[in-house]
Amino acid sequence: MAGRKYVLAAILMVLVVLSATSATLPLVKAEQKKEVVLYTHGWWQPYPRNRYNPFAPRHIGLTGLVKERLAFWDKLNNKYEPWLAESWEFKENEKKVIIHLRKNVYWHDGQKFTAKDVWTTLMLYKLFNRPIWKYISDVKVIDDYTVEYDVKEWSYLLPYYLLYRDAEIVAPYHIYGKFAEQVAKAQSESELNNIRTELIKFEPKTVLGTGPFKFEKITTSEVVLVKFDKYWNADKIHIDKIVLPYITANEVGWLYYRSGQLDYDVFMMPPAVYDEIKKLPFAEVTKVYDLSGFAIVYNFKNPYLRDLRVREAIAYVIDKQKVAQAAGGSAFEPVDYPTGILKVVEDKWIGDIKSYLNPYNTNPSKAEELLKEAGFTKKNGKWYTPDGKVFKLSFVVPGGWTDWVAAAKEITDELKNFGIDVELRTPESSSYWSEDWYLGGNYDLAFDFFGAWMTYPWAAFNRIFIEVNDRPKSQIQGQDFEKFFENVKLGGPFSGTVNAMQLTEKLAVIWDPKEQKDTAQKLAWIVNHYLPIFPIAEKQLMIYYNVQHFKWPDPKTHFNLWQAAAGGHQEALGWMIINGYVQPNPSYWEATSTTPTPTTVVKTETQVKTETVTKTATATGTSTSAKTCGPAVLVALAIIPLLMRRRR
Amino acid sequence: MLDTPIIEVRDLKVYFPVKKGIFGRTYYVKAVDGVSFEIPEEGIFTLVGESGCGKTTVGRTIVGVVKPTAGKILYKGKDTSKLSKEEYLEYRRNVQIVHQDPYSALNPTKTVFQSLAAPLKRWGIAKSRNELREKVSELLELVGLNPPGEFINKYPHQLSGGQRQRVVIARAISVNPDVIVADEPITMIDVSLRIGILDLLLKLKEEVGTSYLFITHDFGAARYFSAKGGGSIAVMYLGKIVEVAAAEEVIQNPLHPYTKALISSVPVADPELSRKRKPLKLKSLDIPSPLNPPSGCKFHTRCPYSTDICSKVEPELKEVSPGHYVACHLYQG
């Protein structure tokens, strides 16, 4: 009899509780804001095993905040600044590098940081054949704070690998020492294999590092870090806690931005969102170069695409400006000269040969000319190949990457309008970056990065001529791709023939700036003239930061700090924090801590700030009750007719 | 009659497998358990019995929608189980059925014309559309739906119960059958129209020469139909015929205790008479489960006259006076 009543009561209660608690939530948070908390996103979900082992796939990284490298890499100037290392000596003659470590550094479990830990980490990197071991043959512990590297191959990239790329010290000896010793002693590949398997299965208790913040916990929605009190530079750090909510999608990041729930992040924003976020009184957005962009890759397996004229024609059809706009107007800039050299260093490397370079401004009539020259014919607005078939190309981009997909759609439309039949395919991204699609060369046109996150041009040319994700270009762009660039006839300001692959390798090892420039210019000219790929637009990183909560370094004067966020925004944040560039904004944090009741705090806060804040800010005392009632009233409204019905 | 009967049923048995509850175990219901009778050419044979006695199953077996478990059905002297395919089809066409429920017997989505034209087309009785219309109109007139034009394009829901039953009869006779199994044709019809339907069937017997197996639970209807058409009545109980005789003989002079009980229970539309009557009281009102029928005479559990022999030996159907057969130990001499 009464069962129905109880069900009803239970539902009502659940809803009332839900709405009541939800309304009180912001108040509780406001109260806790006495400790300075910074929000930036993370992408880790807590799953049962191996999240803390730095050698396991999908482990929790947190470089720059929890873990540190030997040096900070100023990407803009290609300079290295001491971090875990205090100083270093590159001895070319002895083929040795000596690194002096910082003293007073502690692991988060309280153990002292020594050279042994560097050795351990590097031995384990050896186990996984990390690139640094292409350049060095051994690592030696000289004393507690000195490490010596025996260099195998002297290269301009040494500092990059030794101090930055493979210099993240993640494995303290007291935990990983046994593995490192095994590696040092190991004789055969099978032994190494066993160690690898063992190491991957190893489950440490927590994420361990030496950085300014200590890993506290991971929940289904967040990772929480707290300030490490024994950090050597702890006095300069004024942030007590960093919370990294789990966000994997841009669109969700924007929503966090809008509501002021993030303090620092780099989600790519389309113009509409960018404009809106910039208008927020508490938000600031600084754009830096991502040091990468996207390019069309021509597959040389396709007989028509082997013809330079066809590649050029396609380049002339594409409107780089529009494609960049489609990919995301505020985040992409069209390439001026498709050479592979990044814009930020364009003047430095190719400033004096620009007149010899082709910008490939959109020119359909030129494209038509080129195609006709190549034997193509146009009938009813459609192009036919010299052997009379419809000129049809497949265009493959990774499905989940909406900016690329949007750009690819625009390119497809442009090519279709021009009369080339292009079929756009969007396989799932994990499948795209595998031998099923791009890496297996299964496409006519595809997208790839160019620039490769380094201002020194070697990385870009390496990706163009040598390998992508350690797969040779012959696998990606056709068996005879290399043949095309073995004997390249130079033109413009240069003459003679060169081997593009050899030039690229040369660029890696030479230290002489003049020689570097000459080599890079030749390679840039080759790319620009022979179009192995066609770079279209460069990406820009939009760094969002909350100026209401924190004070940040001025982008005008400290551009290099912001530019460092390219390829590692958390690391840049860590660097800014330990150097005291990020300070809590007293007007925000002190106001909160001095006022007794949190409710009024939020109120005054919203009144002081602009009107936009009032609308979106956290709940005020008066609106709380109204919100509590909201859902309850809705439910009640739905039930009233029923109750009335029954009474009859 | 000297002619071979048009239908002869010999020792027919029909058992149905039945699942009891959801918990498995298959039992067999002996719906018809050894029934023999014949329908004379242009004659009437009536089966009377309470619900569940198996009378409908007999009818459905004769028209061929239920397969007999044992026994034979002879059509014009020929065993129907041994007919060639064409002969069997011919037999099926010649034996038609009129169902109890005129609401369920007509496809609600088809007009009267569509319902009647389909069998005519199937058997090539009428071919062109005009021919079909003519023939259908003829049929409707024959069953008393006048004028046919008023009914031909109507859907079943636009007709009254009596009119529907007439359409059903028209459909049954459309293929010129020899025999019609009339399975409770008036039970669902309004009281005031029932005799009309019976009269129509009798009229068809006269005019077209149809024979009937008339199945009913209503002694009044059985009497009316059989007596007017000169047929006999058989009373069924739990899958068996317990008494057969000419119509009036069964009504006026029932011999089997079961028949007696039934007939004495029928209400009479005469207040004085009905108040004087003393219905035969049975030992029990519960019909035994057909899954587990009593031994011996199936009626012995309820029969006020039962003796020891009744529970042991099953009485056979014997002629006790000319044309009057009873299956009861009381009359076995």
Binding site: L25, P48, P57, R196, L255, D470, G630 | -
Partner: protein
């Protein structure tokens, strides 16, 4: 019924029926598992390849060591012909071993991942199911009471339209409006960092808050279906003689509502309710994806995008088993609830 004469005799057929029903369930599971194995196996994309690419791009390894590492990290990826894989999969399935995930911290047993995710889905979808069922029944009964009226026909159309609005649309709108605009509810995940998981009030409150929007989305979409079926069922019951007769007997309307209309009208909905419970693990992909809720649906989405074959199979099989079991339970319970079946009509 003479079952009482011998207790054992009475239960034998039940036992027999149960065995038969169980056998059918097992056969169904077998075929469904087999079917999904081959479908998933037919998916393009080698899981080892996906792993290699991850190593190369995220950890800067060279291809060969990435390959050996991938193979080392994934010793569980069976080699050999598909048939061989199938058999070994079946055998380990029988042992309760669902294989190992390659996408989530490679090497984590799928079982562990499922054990982590299932409670969240049960919480969200389970309570949403119960809430929507309860509300749906209330609304449906109300509509049946006024069936034929303007309100009823309006509501009938309204609910059919609501029912056809895709759940991702509802979830998105709720997320944007209540999560970000009004900030009434948290938008992602299952609980906040400032609470300690366990049986304590702040944690429970926090979990409920996080579950609110996913539950609400589900309820909005599904309540209409229940309301409409309940309406139909109640209208049928309202036309039954026993309702009229109960009214004539002067039974109080509450009694008629509960034990006459309620009981008899809910019975036919019961089976589909049980089946919905079975399907709840597979039915929440969109909602869990949108709210980043760490349930089975999200796990499945991740598994598919990462080509995590065994994780996918694990989720599929959990759903299949859940569906079959809930159908089995529905059959048994139906027998218990409905006397007509319990006592063999």
């Amino acid at each position: 019924m003479d079952g009482s004469s011998s207790a054992l005799k009475g239960y034998m057929p039940v036992l027999k029926w149960f065995t038969k029903r169980l056998l059918i369930a097992l056969i169904t599971i077998y075929f469904a598992v087999t079917l999904s194995f081959f479908v998933v196996k037919a998916m393009p994309g080698d899981p080892v390849q996906a792993l290699i690419q991850m190593f190369v791009s995220q950890y800067y390894m060279d291809y060969d060591s990435a390959k050996s590492l991938a193979e080392a990290a994934a010793p569980f990826i069976p080699k050999g012909s598909v048939l061989h894989q199938y058999i070994s999969y079946l055998i380990s399935f029988l042992h309760g071993n669902l294989g190992v995930s390659i996408s989530y911290s490679t090497g984590t047993p799928v079982k562990d991942l499922l054990i982590q995710s299932i409670p969240w889905t049960v919480l969200v979808v389970g309570s949403a199911l119960i809430i929507s069922f309860a509300i749906g029944i209330l609304i449906g009964t109300g509509m049946a009471y006024v069936h034929g009226s303007k309100i009823d026909s309006f509501l009938a159309v309204f609910f059919s339209v609501i029912r056809s609005i895709p759940e991702y649309v509802v979830a998105l709108v709720l997320l944007i409006v209540f999560g970000f605009h009004f900030k009434w509810f948290p938008t992602r995940g299952a609980y906040s960092p400032n609470v300690t998981p366990g049986f304590n009030l702040p944690f429970i409150k926090d979990v409920l808050k996080h579950a609110a929007l996913p539950i609400l989305s589900w309820v909005i979409v599904h309540v209409s279906g229940w309301a409409l079926s309940m309406r139909a069922s109640t209208v049928t019951v309202l036309g039954e003689d026993y309702i009229t007769y109960a009214k004539i007997r002067g039974l109080p309307s509450r009694r008629i509502l509960v034990s006459y209309i309620g009981k008899n009208a809910i019975l036919p909905l019961f089976t589909s309710f049980m089946l919905s419970i079975g399907f709840m693990f597979g039915g929440s992909v969109f909602i869990e994806y949108i709210f980043a809720y760490p349930g089975v649906g999200n796990l499945l989405y991740q598994a598919i995008t990462m080509r995590d074959t065994y994780l996918m199979l694990g989720v599929f099989n959990i759903i299949i088993v859940a569906v079959v079991i809930s159908a089995l339970i529905a059959d048994i319970l139906y027998g218990v609830i409905d006397p007509r079946i319990r006592r063999g009509a």
